[in-house]
Subunit: 113 residues, 2 copies
């Protein structure tokens, strides 16, 4: 089945052997669409299909893998209304939220590539 390695504090992660929390979170968030999912869920609970649609047709395989990882990491949880951010997840969202404004500014100053 799915043998993706779950980034876990204290255990080696993709790239990092020490399992420092920051490296663990970098690994977790560094996987495809992880931040996008958290970003979207801030708008409220979402079903699998809606999430998939929002994430510009992310493949169901990847979405499902990401959901499992984020759930194990206790950043999201499944409720009757769909997937939702946990308290931890919400805190994390608040931390990455400023990236939105920064990214727009960065994009504006982005030239001649």
């Amino acid at each position: 089945m799915d043998s993706t390695s779950q980034p876990t504090p204290g255990k080696p992660v993709r790239g990092s052997k020490t399992g420092q929390p920051i490296m663990v979170i970098f690994d977790l968030l560094g996987r495809s669409w992880a931040m996008g999912i958290i970003w979207h869920l801030n708008n409220g609970p979402s079903t699998f299909r809606r999430l998939q649609k929002y994430c510009e047709n992310i493949s169901p395989t990847t979405l499902n893998t990401r959901i499992k990882e984020l759930t194990k990491a206790k950043l999201i949880i499944r409720t009757v209304d769909g997937y939702t951010l946990t308290d931890h997840g919400l805190q994390l969202f608040k931390l990455i939220h400023p990236l939105g404004k920064w990214a727009k500014n960065w994009a504006k100053n982005y030239q001649d590539i």
Copy 2:
């Protein structure tokens, strides 16, 4: 040679077709070791080998690819002292900096996986 797609505002990125800045930055930062590199460079300029060592022996291939991408994105730049954060890069670091503290707390509350 290396045909990695550079995440660029306004252009489709890995996963996102609209090229919204936040999605672009998620793609860029979501690649292996990207955030780790920025994290480390906050400690001052670093040479290729030192960076490699710091990033727990990231493969030179990946490091080089990441360096090229981050340089094109104007987040880092090469100086006589080694690779350094640009102003944009420093701003970005400041935004992700709180993740360190958050991650430690998250890791503490992380159980029964």
